[in-house]
Every structure is written in structure tokens, then in C-alpha cells.
Symmetry: C3
Subunit: 338 residues, 3 copies
């Protein structure tokens, strides 16, 4: 595609020869003739001088002879450019001969159902949704339009996914919540989990992530939220819109997480809490109580990030601090003798 | 069902109009006419005044005009009520046409084998057990009666499950233990893992949980134990009865965990340890050595919970403590000059 | 097999009656007549006196009347002995009638393709490789020779596995990297992940482990590296040769991990870092920055292991340290009055 045609699609200003054609997007080190590259991290500006790319996406105010597509968010524009120049190979609509689709299941126009998929009774699958091989939908599942469920995904009965939901391989939606009541003998009786999971529009669920169904009502993942791989979402958790949970995060049951929250890798959140809008938790943080909106927390138990960094710095010098206290005690004894 | 009929089934005392009929169980906020609700957490007592439920399960000594089922453990009674009023939809017995069942595999009466299930040579599946679609049993697997294996569960050769075992979606039982020996060149040679996994009666295994087979003998999960999602159980681990491991717990190889132990979310336990009966570990605790029975531990490395809370409180004030020490040093210098 | 025949195969010196036959390997407690056992941990030497094994593998310099195979690395020799005496049951070559193999996929000699396996367009599977039931290979996947992919493994398009790669059940290779760019409205747009995953020869991937594809280039796992279960490898991560990642480790995107690195259970590594050759991180360590080759680190944030142990020891006595400081302040006040 010519740069002059691509620039408006990316909301970018063309600078240089608009007749240049680019076919692919490539990283700045690997790019060659015919490639479009991008710079979104100032650390990589020096590479502009040596890249072999035919054109580059970058921020305003950067000097380079390379034909450029100038915009405010090069990283975002790169994402769009990939989608435009290299549209994903989409499997053809149709139902594989080996798929087991219940007679009363309703499949929208252009749906792709892969090999060995199981679609249970009363399921609804929206237009153009792709179910890769080996996806299993129990009875009564509703999936919206333009979704993609990768191979090995399991969705339990009654759960609902909105539109444009992407689910990476092996994820489980609607497993039983971890509900048990101790009886008189100290044994655990199972609490039946009769609620469902609701995943709103534009959510992405990572590989091997588990979202438990609620005991009675619903576990809900808000619009636009992104869950990374190997994440655990307990029963009756509610997550707001545009929130991000990185790899291996765990959220225990009945906790409410707000909008635009960011939980970094391996963060753990206890149950029955409220995490306010815009909260950020750094990697491995352990959150045992409510966190007000807008706070940035770290450590276990979670403290304000800045406080935690300062305390951690002193932690690394604790043996020395202990020695200083011992020395003070010795000096005080001497002074008392005098 | 009439309250007068339900009360004895729940071991509860009826208070009020026994002719009232309830059809479903619902949470106290969502309940409407015809619903039975429950209160097990004192925090929710105020909602009794406004709930629209027809009846409520609760503890003795609570004043309410609502028809009540009074018992010592409302949470447990609620669990039983759900099972009685809304018995789970059980798939009909039979073997799906697409299931691959080895000719010498033995299926008990009333077994349900779903679509695309693979049952290997010499397998035994007990009466009324349900294998949901896409379950894979390698050769020589033995599953007891009244079990339910959800879709995507994988059980490796020779492993044994008892009666009434529930396995959530995608769990893996019998993966190779992580056994490698370093050779002279610094490379890792694989130690063949020829042992098995034994899961005793009434165990529940969470979604996407992995239980490794032993190198030579067995990895064993004791009767009634509950494993949450995304849990890792290393080779040759032994877990006692009625123990609970919450989400994303990891237990390294050859460790023995006792009875009635509770490990909260994301706890890590090193290998070759003994964790005594009744131990509790709070979330994210890291256990590097044996823990005597009955202890309550927290932190990494694990301390007594109370000690850890106190130390954590001082940790949050370490910069101030360091300042106070510096100030003391300054004052001591002044005093020494005088 | 006679000991005299087995000894040279294990690079061991025979001591005692070479005509003794052993059929199996067993642990020192469980071994009986006809079994070969081993001692690799000095803690178990006392058991030599009471074991019922017919022969034992052990280090030089240990006194015992038992027929012995003496060598420098009994643990490694035991691994070889298992493979020799009890060669793993290998499924017969052939393609199951229910497997869906694309017409242009190329399968090497002696390949085993199990029930319900899906092999996509343009895939290549090397000689003698075993694909257990329900494995899914998207289009363009290349798998080397002598590999074993256990049931439920998913490999996404274009990914490449070398020779002798073992993948435990349910693992996912090539899931989308966690790439999102925030737009002007604060919403997340997906960055298409068009790169691949390359897994080199002799790697083992644990059960339910996820290895994300790169955005543009590749995520690469070096020769001989071993990944345990429930591990998360982010997009564009590079791992060197002969490195070991234990259960539930998480490595964020674009980090480079060197050779012969050991990350213990539940370690977390931030993104865009360099972890040098031979680094060791103890369990649950959180690594937020580069780590030079050869260091042994612990804690969050990571410190040198020795420093962390010392600081942790003082941490456990922080309430007392605070008291001592308070007492010093009191004594200083008294002294100042005098």
C-alpha cells in the first residue's frame, strides 16, 4: 500500500514520498526494503540512522530523511498498520463435519465452527464468530458476534460472552467457584455453584486463565478488560471496564475491581474487597484489604508504592541498622558510667 | 417444596408457616417471592428487613417475622437446600457415538461418556460417573463411582481416582514430575516418571490444576481434600484428608502435607518438607522448612502470623526508624563532646 | 538383565555377583527381590542395611555386602537404568482414523497421530514424533523428530519445535502476546501478535504452561531448557540453553534469560530485562531489574541471597528493634537532663 493511502487510515501526517509502497510491518532492527517500521520508545531513536525500512511511524519533532508517518501514538498506529497491511487469515465460514452442534443451537451468519467443536443445547453463537478446533460450549452458552475462541477453550453452561471477545487457548470460563462449607465432622461439603459468568464486549481472556462461575448470581468481566495468561478469577468477582490483569494474577471471590485498574504480574487480591477505579498494583503485590481509587500500591501487605520502595531500601540494610542500634546501646552504657 | 417438608431434610427447626412453598435458593438481595434465602454472615442481618424472599435459613436467636428454617450452620444448610430444590441437571447415561472407548475398558452402570472422550486400554470407570466431552484417559486409568470429570480434563496412564471425585475443566492428573539429573556436561537428563497419582474419595480438583505423577511410587491426594484452580502439586507429594489448597498454590516435590491444612491463595511450599496437621498459611506465604502441626504462618520466609503482622507493621515505618537511629547517633555524639 | 550386562550401559563398575538379574528399579524402601535400587542422598545410607533390593547403584566408598553398581552420579545412573530396564511403552506408528490431518501436511516416518488430533495446513511433523489424542496444531507448525506432545497440547500457527521436545498435557505454545496500546479514550487496542515461538531441541515444557508468540519476531526457548508446570513466558522472551524454570514461574515480555539459569518456584521476572548466565533465584523472588551473570538472588525486590537471609532474620525481630530504639531515645533524654 502506498504511504499516501495508508497515512489517513492511521490518522497520521505523511512526510516525504507518498508513492512509496510498504507491504509489511517489521521491528526497526529486522526491517528491510518494503517494510514499514516504527519508533515508540526514545531508546530506539538512534536506530533510525541505520534501519533499512522503507518508511517509519513516529512522533512529531523527530528529524529523519526516511519517509515518515507522523502521529501522536506511534505504538497504536503500528497496531493499526499491522491490521491493515497484514489482515489476519480468517478461517472460512462454515461448520466442520466433525463438529457436534446441538439441533436447537443457533449459529449466526458467517460463523466458523472448527473440527471437534461441541456446541451444547440452546447455545447461541453470534455472526462471524470463530470457534477453533476442540472448543467446548456446554448447554445454554451465549456468545456474541465477531468473537474468537482459540482451540481448547471450555465454556460452561449458561455463561455469556459479548461481542468481539477473544479467548486464548485452553482458558476455562464458568468452572465451579471454590465454595465449601465445613460440617460438624470438619469435612467440607460442596456449595453448588449455580450462577454464571458474564464476559462483556471487547474483553480478551488469556491462555489457561480460569474464570469461576458464581454460587448464585454472576461473575462479571467489564467491557474492554484484558486478562493475561494463567489468571485466576474467583466466583462472584466483578471487574470494571478497561482494566488490565497481567500474567498469573489471582483475585479471590466476591471482590469488586473497578475501572482502568492495572494489576501487574502475580498480584494476589483477597476476597470480599473493593479495589477502586484507576488503582495500580506492582508485580507480586498482595492486597488484603480495600484499596481506594487512584492509589499505586506495592508489597505484601500492600503499601503505597513510594513508601514500599523506601521501606524496601531500608530492609536491604537491616543488618547494618541492627549493628548501629547495638553500637548505640554500647555507647549509652559507657556514657551512663561516666 | 413446602417448608414443613424441607426443614427436616436440612436438620433445621421450622419457625412460622410450614405450608409456604419455595422453589429456588437466592441471595438475600436478589430473592423474590417463592425464593428461599439465607443469612450466614452477621453483616447481612440488616437485609432481613427488606428482603422479598418467602423464607430464610438462619442461626438461632435472630428475630424476624419471615418464615424461618433455624439451624446451627446456615451456610451448610443453604448448600443442601440448593441440591434438594435444584438438583443438578445430570447428563443421561450412555456412551456418545464419537467417544473412543478401548475394547477392554470397563464402564460401570449409568456411566455417561461424552463426545470425543478417549478411554484408553484397561481403563475402569465406576458406576454413574460422568466424563464430559473431550476428557482423555490414557491406558490403565481407574476412576471410581459417582465422579464427574469436566471437559478437557486429562488423566495419564495408571492414575487412580476414588469415588465422588469432581475434576474441573482442563485439569491434568499424572503429568511427568519435574525430574532431571545434571550430567557431566551440565545438561539435564530426564528422570523417567514411572509412578502414578492417587486421588482419594470426595476430592475436588480445580480447573487447570496440575498434579504430577511420582518418579517411582505415588503422589497422593487424601480423602475430602479440595484443590482450587491453577494449583501445582509436584511429584511424590502426599496431602492428608480434608485439606484445602486455594488458587495458584504450589507444592514442590516429595513434601508431605497433613490433614485439615489450609493454604491460602498463591502460597508456595518447598520440597521434601513436612507440613503438620491443621496448619494454616495466609496468602502468598513462602514455606521453606517444616511447619509443626497447628501453626498459623505468614510471609516469606514463613513466620508465625502474629509475629509477621507485627514485623510488617514496623516494616512500613522503616524509613522513620532509620531516621530515629540517625538522630540518636547525632545526639550521642553531642553528649560525648560534653 | 544381568548386572554384568547392565553395568557398562550405566558407565558403572560392578562390585559383587554379576549374574544377578534385575528387572525393575524401585525406591530403597519399596524395593524387593529382583529390584535394583539406588542411593544418591547420604541421608538414605542407613537404609542400605535393611533394603530387600537385589542390587544397588551408589557412589564409590560406601561399604555394603549388596551387589553394587558404583558410579559418580547414582541419580543419573538410576535415570538411565529405568529407561533401559523399563523402556517406556511407545504407541505404535500410524494415524488414528479420527485425526484430521491437512492434505499438505507432511508426517515423517514412524509418526504416531492419536485420536482427534488436528494437524493444520502446511504442518511438518518429524520422524517418530508422538502426538497424543486431542493435540491441535494450527497451520504451518513444524515439529522435529522424536518429540512427544501429550494430550490437550495446543500449538499455534507458524510455531516451531526442534527434535526430542517433550510437551506435557495442556500446554499452549504460541498464544497471543499480551500486547495492547492505550488509545485517546483510555481504551486498549489490541496489538496483533504476528511473530512465532521457537522451541529448540531437547526442551521439555510442563503441563498447562503458556509460551506467548512475539508481536513481530520470535519468542525462543533454548536447547535443553526445562520449563515446569503452569509457567508463563511472555512475548519476545529469549531463554538460553540448559536453563530451568520451576513451577508457576512468570517471565514478562522481551526479557532475555541466559544459559544455565535456575528460577525456583513462583519466581517473577519483569519485562525488558537481562538475566545473565548461571543466575539462581530462590522461590518467590521478584526480579525488577537486570541481574548479572552468576548472582544468587532472593526476595522482592531481589537482593543477593545472603543479604536477603540476613535482612529477613532482622525483619523477624523488628518489633524488638523498634523497642530498643525507643528505649535508647528514653535513655538519651535522661542523659541530656543530667
Amino acid at each position: 500500500m502506498r504511504l499516501s493511502e495508508l497515512a489517513p487510515k492511521l490518522n497520521a501526517t505523511l512526510r516525504g514520498d507518498g508513492s512509496i509502497e510498504v507491504a509489511r510491518v517489521a521491528g526497526i532492527d529486522e526491517a528491510g526494503p518494503g517494510d514499514l517500521t516504527f519508533v515508540s520508545n526514545p531508546r530506539y531513536l538512534t536506530k533510525l540512522a541505520t534501519t533499512r525500512a522503507s518508511a517509519v511511524i513516529l512522533s512529531p519533532g523527530i528529524d529523519t530523511p526516511l519517509p515518515s508517518l507522523v502521529c501522536g501514538n506511534p505504538y497504536l498506529a503500528f497496531a493499526h498498520a499491522v491490521t491493515i497491511l497484514e489482515p489476519p487469515a480468517r478461517p472460512a465460514p462454515g461448520v466442520h463435519a466433525t463438529a457436534q452442534v446441538a439441533p436447537d443451537a443457533v449459529l449466526g451468519d458467517g460463523v466458523h465452527v472448527g473440527a471437534y467443536v461441541v456446541v451444547g443445547a440452546g447455545c447461541r453463537v453470534g455472526a462471524r464468530t470463530v470457534l477453533r478446533p476442540h472448543v467446548v460450549l456446554y448447554d445454554g452458552v451465549a456468545i456474541g458476534a465477531d468473537c474468537e475462541l482459540h482451540s481448547g477453550v471450555q465454556v460452561r453452561d449458561g455463561c455469556r460472552l459479548g461481542d468481539r471477545v477473544i479467548v486464548q487457548n485452553g482458558a476455562v470460563i464458568g468452572s465451579d467457584g471454590f465454595g465449601f462449607a465445613k460440617d460438624e465432622a470438619g469435612r467440607y461439603a460442596k456449595i453448588p455453584q449455580r450462577g454464571i459468568v458474564v464476559v462483556e464486549d471487547d474483553v480478551e481472556v488469556g491462555a489457561l486463565t480460569a474464570i469461576d462461575r458464581a454460587a448464585l448470581n454472576e461473575t462479571r468481566i467489564g467491557r474492554g478488560t484484558k486478562l493475561d495468561n494463567l489468571v485466576q478469577i474467583g466466583h462472584s468477582v466483578t471487574i470494571g471496564e478497561d482494566t488490565v490483569l497481567a500474567g498469573q494474577v489471582g483475585v479471590a471471590g466476591s471482590t469488586k475491581i473497578g475501572r482502568r485498574v492495572t494489576l501487574a504480574g502475580q498480584v494476589g487480591v483477597a476476597g470480599h474487597l473493593t479495589i477502586g477505579d484507576g488503582v495500580i498494583a506492582s508485580a507480586q503485590t498482595g492486597i488484603p484489604g480495600d484499596v481506594e481509587a487512584g492509589r499505586f500500591v506495592s508489597g505484601t501487605p500492600a503499601l503505597d508504592n513510594r513508601a514500599w520502595l523506601k521501606s524496601s531500601a531500608v530492609f536491604s540494610k537491616l543488618p547494618e541498622l541492627q549493628k548501629r542500634v547495638r553500637e548505640l546501646e554500647r555507647q549509652i552504657e559507657e556514657l551512663k558510667k561516666r
